[in-house]
């Protein structure tokens, strides 16, 4: 009975998830994930954010806060890890001390935060990982992972360039994120895999700009000097795309260079507006997973779920001039 | 014209954290008068003058200028009322030139742009007005201290001041420079300026002052005529008649601790205003106190510090012998190994760790003796410090006190005691009684002679001629980095000065 109810509630949620197949058979565990659950309780959810000082992460916070507000039983606590594994570890430990009912975490780095997640799990607190994973097996070492697939998103961007944007080929550049960070590597490799579809496209330059617009501007300006025929640039996040646009403008090449971003952030500084106003060719949303995470929290805490899907991949949306204006309206 | 004095301070009292620095002091100053304010360190002179110049506010009492009561909330208010103060630590900017310093904060401009030309011209004029001629384009930091003093005076006078407070203005001046300064002061007084003159040098008082007030323990101890004998002034200062200032000599010569024969020091880098020894010949025997006389810039300090290996990189030539053996005094470590110890004239800048305790300062140069196996032995440290405090009669006899809280005289005793603990063969003293009370001076002289009596050789440089004459067995005169004359004990001050300043024009910058 109860189980059916959960299924039905989760149905739209599960439909989104490509990774739902990874669901382990839960017949063996008949107990709910959290003992003190039910619709009448009050629950504290702690979210350990890797670093508030990035527009994308702020966007995640906003979406999570908005989703949590709709559930009267939930109180959301956000802790800023400030881009520092030590700080984030201590915040995770504090959540455990506080005995929050559920923890969401976007780990700044994978293996350093693994022990902290393990301590939380050991204390009986479910941990849902957002956007980035720690080391281990979902469903065992942590409750679930919800996020986008960096490689796939960048690959789609690459395919978009190869098929739609430059079917006749040409020179292409890549602006990488902070070197040695996982998403930077994945997005770089994804994009390069995507453009392979079109042998006439040549990646002539790739430079790290650490996710930062000013560094991206400097780097791309230098690229345009070295390769005046660059036709498109893929920026691994929206901020660097904005920097690339400034560099193109400085070189007088805004019409020649197609700019692609990643993240698809809303707001006046975000990528959706830039595409809608024709500044960029496209940007690819990196979904926050915020609403999905709150849905999962509801299943665990309010509905006493005995199991949840352990990997939920939220697909990307390509934002192109076709849909950007409409999305702006939302 | 009112009959009220130019300045009257009535019942001024001030305490710091429970210590009563001033206990109801009355002080007045007439137009055209040089009023000498004397007192030992800590007697309250500086506090009183800080009240007058608005640096601190009194707890009680009032200040009347021309009979009108005024309150100086800050130094600006005092300046506006015509009170200009020349502090001992000159408030000049070393990295700016003389002209810029004279117009600091009141720069002349033309159309919003600095008018350097006019400032240089006026600066020259102002200096000429007080009888000095100097290059106003020089950086103040490159000037000798004496010249800086003059710049500071010229700067203070520019405020159209009616009351001028001078805190030990002659401390760093040569005798002839001091004479010129006195002439300036008399001239200013003749124009109606009232001057408060603070000094340690009692012998200067009759030369310049019209009236003398002595402070002791935050109260007025008494007034005296400038022509009163020095012993009377000293009795007022110390509160009791002082026996003999200079101790008796032990006499007798023994082995030669130091011999210099045409010694020169070739520094690797030239330094402005630094006169390396350029041919010094002298001897110091065990048990002997030898004086170094000379005008400013004659190279006294430089000779002592290069002997101590602190003259920067360079090489000696000529003969330098310690205990009859040639010595290579090119580093402090080498000089200390050879048995030398040095007491700098810059007590605060190079002698003491002011925030550290007396005890820790005392053992600073003999740390090896109190730290076997690199571990500090608190017991040995306390014993050694205790001995030194007792031997030099440091007051208060508390090794835990911060040395900066002691009076100048006691600080100087600590510096001396610290070097004596190292049991040197040859003690180099640079201005051993600068900024020290008369009372403490006598004790320091006694200690120096006692050390000599124990067989230590002492070489002492001083700009106070009476001190050299009273203390030393022989006096060597330096000029332009060379030894030019030698006088036995009991020589006439006039003769020594003559030798020191003989060809001043040729050596002076």
């Amino acid at each position: 009975m109860r189980r059916l109810e959960i299924r039905s509630k989760l149905w739209p949620f599960l439909a989104l998830s490509a990774g739902a197949a990874a669901l382990t058979a839960g017949a063996a565990q008949a107990a709910p994930l959290v003992k003190e659950c039910g619709k009448n309780g009050q629950y504290v959810i702690g979210f350990s954010q890797a670093n508030n000082a990035e527009p994308y992460r702020q966007h995640v916070n906003d979406e999570l806060t908005a989703a949590a507000k709709k559930v009267p039983q939930f109180t959301l606590q956000i802790a800023d890890g400030a881009g520092n594994v030590n700080t984030q570890t201590s915040q995770m430990d504090n959540f455990v001390t506080q005995k929050v009912d559920l923890i969401l975490i976007s780990p700044f780095e994978a293996s350093p935060l693994t022990p902290a997640v393990a301590r939380a799990m050991k204390a009986g607190i479910p941990v849902i990982e957002l956007d980035r994973k720690t080391v281990g097996e979902p469903g065992k070492d942590y409750t679930a992972f919800i996020g986008g697939d960096n490689f796939k998103i960048a690959e789609e961007a690459g395919k978009y360039v190869a098929g739609k944007l430059l079917p006749d080929g040409g020179e292409v550049a890549v602006l990488e994120g902070l070197p040695s960070s996982t998403p930077a590597v994945e997005r770089l490799n994804g994009f390069k895999a995507g453009v392979k579809d079109n042998p006439k496209i040549e990646v002539v330059a790739e430079q790290a700009a650490d996710w930062l617009p000013d560094k991206a501007q400097t780097a791309f300006a230098a690229m345009l000097q070295a390769h005046p025929n660059i036709k498109a640039v893929y920026a691994s996040n929206d901020m660097m795309a904005a920097g690339a646009r400034l560099a193109a403008k400085g070189a007088g090449k805004v019409d020649q260079v197609k700019i692609l971003g990643t993240d698809g952030l809303p707001g006046p500084a975000g990528g959706i507006r830039a595409v809608a106003e024709g500044e960029w060719a496209a940007t690819f949303t990196y979904p926050t997973g915020g609403p999905e995470a709150i849905e999962m929290a509801k299943a665990i805490l309010l509905d006493c779920a005995e199991q949840v899907p352990t990997v939920v991949t939220v697909p990307t949306t390509a934002i192109t001039p076709d849909n950007a204006k409409q999305l702006m309206g939302n | 014209m009112s009959a009220a004095p130019l300045l009257a301070m009535r019942g001024v009292a001030k305490s710091f954290g429970g210590a009563q620095a001033l206990r109801g002091v009355d002080f007045d100053l007439q137009r055209g008068e040089v009023h000498a304010l004397l007192g030992e360190n800590g007697a309250g002179k500086s506090t009183l003058m800080n009240v007058l110049s608005g640096v601190i506010q009194p707890d009680e009492g009032e200040i009347l200028i021309d009979g009108a009561a005024l309150r100086f909330e800050d130094p600006r208010a005092a300046q506006a009322a015509g009170v200009a103060t020349i502090f001992q630590e000159l408030d000049l900017v070393p990295s700016l030139d003389v002209a810029a310093n004279l117009f600091l904060g009141r720069e002349l401009t033309r159309g919003g742009v600095l008018d350097r030309f006019a400032m240089r011209r006026q600066a020259k004029l102002r200096l000429a007005e007080i009888g000095f001629d100097m290059d106003v384009d020089q950086l103040v930091g490159d000037l000798p201290v004496g010249r800086r003093q003059i710049v500071a005076i010229a700067k203070a006078l520019a405020y159209a001041s009616r009351i001028l407070v001078m805190d030990e203005p002659t401390a760093a001046l040569t005798a002839s420079e001091a004479e010129r300064l006195f002439a300036v002061m008399r001239d200013l007084a003749g124009r109606g300026v009232g001057i408060v003159y603070i000094s340690h040098r009692l012998e200067e008082v009759p030369r310049v002052a019209d009236r003398v007030t002595v402070l002791r323990d935050g109260k007025v101890a008494g007034a005296a005529s400038p022509s009163a004998p020095q012993s009377e002034l000293v009795a007022l200062l110390v509160g009791r008649p002082l026996a003999e200032l200079y101790p008796r000599r032990s006499g007798g010569r023994a082995r030669r601790v130091l011999r210099l024969e045409q010694a020169r020091y070739q520094p690797r880098r030239r330094r402005a205003g630094w006169r390396a020894p350029q041919g010094v010949s002298l001897e110091v025997h065990a048990g002997e106190v030898v004086g170094l006389a000379g005008i400013m810039g004659a190279g006294r300090t430089e000779l002592l510090s290069t002997l101590y290996g602190a003259g920067g990189p360079g090489a000696w030539s000529g003969t330098v012998e310690i205990d009859g053996k040639p010595a290579r005094l090119t580093s402090i470590a080498a000089a200390r190994r050879a048995g030398l110890a040095f007491v700098t004239d810059d007590r605060r800048g190079g002698g003491l760790m002011l925030r550290d305790s007396v005890g820790r300062n005392l053992v600073a140069s003999v740390l090896r003796r109190v730290s076997p196996f690199f571990l500090m032995s608190k017991a040995r440290e306390a014993r050694l410090a205790g001995e030194a405090i007792a031997a030099f009669d440091v007051r208060p006899p508390r090794p835990d006190l911060a040395v900066g809280a002691l009076s100048g005289g006691n600080q100087q005793k600590v510096v001396l005691a610290k070097e004596v603990l190292g049991e040197p063969r040859l003690l180099l003293l640079d201005e051993p009684t600068r900024g020290v009370d008369v009372g403490a001076k006598g004790e320091i002289y006694a200690r120096i002679r006692a050390l000599a009596a124990q067989g230590v050789g002492v070489l002492v440089a001083s700009s106070e001629m009476p001190e050299l004459i009273g203390l030393c067995d022989r006096i060597v005169v330096l000029r332009g980095g060379r030894s030019v004359a030698e006088f036995p004990a009991g020589a006439e001050e006039r003769d020594i000065l003559e030798a020191a300043e003989a060809s001043q024009d040729e050596d002076d910058e």
Binding site: N86, S90, N94, P112 | L354, R355, P396, D400
Partner: protein, 349 residues
Amino acid sequence: MNDAATALKSAPARPAPRRLDFFAVAVRFQSVIGLILVAIGGVIFSPRRHGSILFLAPDNIANIVRAISETGIIAVGMTFVIITAGIDLSVGALLSLSSVLTATIMTTWGWGLVPTLLFVLICGAAFGATQGVISTKFRLEPFIVTLAGLQTARGLALVISGNQYINISYGDGPGLAPPIFSVLGDRLFNNTVPVATLVFVVVAIVATFVLNLTRFGRYVFAVGGNERAARLSGMPVTLVKISVYAITGLVSAIAGVVHAGQFNFGSANDGTGYELTAIAAVVIGGTSLFGGSGSMIGTVAGAVMLGALANVLQLNNINAALQLLATGAIIVLAAVLQSLVRRREGLGR
């Protein structure tokens, strides 16, 4: 140091009776008092669970002292440098370099635990000493030299790590680190005492001993108190200055090893801003940036206080911006107290 307090007990000129000057005592122990105040605030404002005070829960105390162990270790070394009136900005970058080195050596080069640690610690000390040599030899401001050191260390870390972060996996065999190394991330004694904190405690005890009870410690105070006087007293001033930078290099390397062990990785991006946290702890601890005075206990209390403050605020779900504001205010307060002391001692207006 102890003299700040004693100095104030006496009037400028004459021996004063031994009175307790509360102001001086308060400044001397400012960080300890600050820590007590934060603790009291923590107890008052702490959320409670089943009537027990969350802030005082053993788990929570362990969280606090674990979180500050790395910056605490660095702050202890920084105290030496600051007492000599110097500064070392390279510590955070050196921590990162050391963590990268540790991870690389153990996983790629396959060295054993002891040689690895020795090598990393020697590298750290040598890096620091090199900065000291450059600064003394060419008479450069330590600020500039260590700023360059910061960049150099980060660059080296990026080169050595090949722009990747290096995971440490444990076990026997090639590419695996000795399992004992992971103990740095554990908690001992019935899962209560973090090993990282134990390292901090040991480093702090050794440093307190060196600073207060050895000849070298005395040299450090003297060089900062009055460099010229120290030189004229025959102290090896240059050697002392080089040594204090070797010490910060060494403690940064220790912190880097602890970092690698706690988080099982080495990264060229870690330790950013640690130099500022460490300097803040030292200053709050009552050590004067002018040199010549300072206390190791103060530094430790300052570091713990900053950690406790962050913890109290997070337990109450107060946001990060306010933590920064509070830290800033405390640093200013500490600096103002310092300057009041100097003024009362008559050292500078």
